[in-house]
């Protein structure tokens, strides 16, 4: 039994990397929003679910490949995120963190149940022509969608990292994250930056949704599964750190798949919450975080 598990270990680790990259993408949006706005976006899971549905319907109605949908869903998600922050969350919350938390909570209730109302509670999946094709690595098969999603997720992380480090917008976002008042004083429109950051965070989800659709199913409650995972990655990697989100994603992905292999389906999930608690107690700044 144990030796059988051990022989499957390399496969589990590689699978963990594949899922980890996708988790990282979900966490990326969250860490960005947390790092800049200092809020917990409770509606993160619900918005991921919306992105999955968007990709699903693009495929179902117009036969657009989910990976191509990235180009459509991501900008739409950005606009959605920008508008919902600028004219919803931001203006209603009047700058109070606790209100933002509750408004995103209310938003998640609305989105989840809106999806239940319009799309029904049935689980939906897509059947891609290449969905069952796989690379043969000798000791395991790796399906095309997983590999494509893996590299697409890496590309997204790299793009975001570059945008944050090299562009003026990225600099402005980092300035607002570090020192709101100072940023305002040097002429940065803080409200606009907040909304843009929220938009980018949701855009990451849009891309993540498209990449996840070929691998996961979607129903109105799909998002919930990823919420604690995403929070764990964000805390593990350090709030606001792009590199941290990627590394954290890999660690969590591998923990999950190896834990599932060694401890079984049910107890295997324990790794995520355990890591979460331990990291909060012993290193709350995370692996790549700079300050609490």
């Amino acid at each position: 039994m144990i030796s059988a598990s051990l022989s499957m270990l390399p496969a589990a680790i590689i699978n963990g990397f594949m899922y980890g990259a996708i988790y990282a993408l979900v966490a990326l949006g969250l860490t960005l929003i947390y790092g800049v706005l200092h809020i917990i976006n409770f509606a993160h899971g619900a918005m991921l679910m919306l992105a999955l549905y968007a990709a699903f319907f693009l495929f179902d109605l117009f036969n657009i490949d989910p990976y191509f949908s990235i180009l459509i869903v991501t900008p739409c998600a950005f606009i959605f995120g920008y508008l919902i922050y600028r004219y919803g969350i931001g203006s209603l919350a009047k700058g109070k963190d606790q209100n933002i938390l509750l408004i995103t909570l209310g938003l998640s209730i609305i989105i989840e149940n809106g999806a239940l109302f319009f799309f029904s509670g049935d689980q939906q999946t897509v059947n891609l022509t290449y969905g069952f094709d796989a690379f043969d690595l000798g000791f395991m098969y790796l399906s095309y969608p997983k590999v494509i999603s893996f590299f697409a997720a890496l590309l997204m992380c790299a793009t975001l990292w570059a945008a944050m480090s090299l562009t003026d917008l990225g600099r402005a976002i980092r300035a607002v994250a570090k020192e709101r008042q100072g940023a305002r004083l040097v002429g940065i429109n803080v409200e606009h930056i907040f909304a843009v950051t929220f938009g980018i965070g949701i855009a990451c989800l849009g891309a993540a949704g498209c990449m996840m659709l070929p691998i996961f199913y979607v129903d109105p409650y799909t998002g919930n599964m990823f919420v604690l995972v995403a929070f764990t990655i964000v805390v593990l990697g350090g709030m606001g750190s792009v590199v941290g989100a990627l590394v954290g994603g890999f660690i969590i992905g591998i923990t999950e798949s190896v834990g599932g292999l060694l401890l079984g389906e049910s107890l295997g999930q324990i790794g995520i919450s355990l890591i979460f608690i331990l990291i909060l107690i012993f290193r709350p700044t995370g692996l790549f975080g700079s300050k609490v």
Partner: protein, 331 residues
Amino acid sequence: MFNLRRHLSFLLLGALGLIVLPYFISSRFYIDVLTLIFFTAYLGQSWNILGGYAGQFSFGGVMFFGTGAYVSSILLTTFGFPPIFGIFLAILGGAFLGLIVGYMSFRSGLKGSYFALITLAFAELLRVLANSVEFTGGGVGLFLTYAPGLSNLQFETPVGFYYFALVLMFISIVIVYWLEGSRFGAQLVAIRENEDAAEALGIDTLRCKIYAIMIMGAMGGAAGTFYSQKYLYLDPPIAYSIHLSVEMLLVTIVGGMGTIFGPLVGAFVLHSVNEVARHFIDTPGLSLIVYGLILIIIIGYLPNGLIGAFKKKGKKSGSSSLDKKRSREDS
């Protein structure tokens, strides 16, 4: 602070009204809704002690509920231990869990969002454990037998459970009333307003926060016994559901944090809205959309909760000064 003397006659009248109410309501439905309102108000009140008074938001409040439910239910199904005594062990179990969680997280200085998140993770950890071990019945769950009687804390009519919930809620109000007048309560408020200043004044903030979460845990434990004896079934997703964690903070914040009657007002309003919406629109999902909308509107336009909205001289009430102080703990 809430002045009991001035409102005493009004309060007694209200309490009396709730006690005799079942004699005027024949509909089982309304009794059940009211029972649920008291139950939620009770849980909200437990959240209020740590969240509203001590200023420590928890997102995993359900863990005390679930643990209490498992303690008394497992004692009953395995050893035939009567729940009327089991409820006290559930209370102890909840308080003990509060001690562990409180010690681990407050000891390492977690506050704000970090504390909120770690409670969420503890609840999730317990859910996975309850799902994986034998003695909780695992994913299949625990089935309790229906044998009405006071020793089982089960009743033949919904009215029995109505009074059970009502008693729990009365007790919670008494606890919070005592808190408001006590030295301990003042220490909690001091921690909420400015923890460093409280520490400098010589308040043992760690000890106070741990006591507060233990009280919350003890109250949650009793709620667990109530639930399992009423619904006779328990499984990990019910015992550690994130929805209940959210609901207890929701009713408190909507009603008014750091106030005696906030959780009750919040529970009453949110449940009424929910039932009315469900009554008029009987499509899955749509009633909850309305519920979410109302929540957002209340948060956006009544920042101090409903109680705060009715209190014009809000400067003296706890909840308004709370809002000014709270923010950026985590920045």
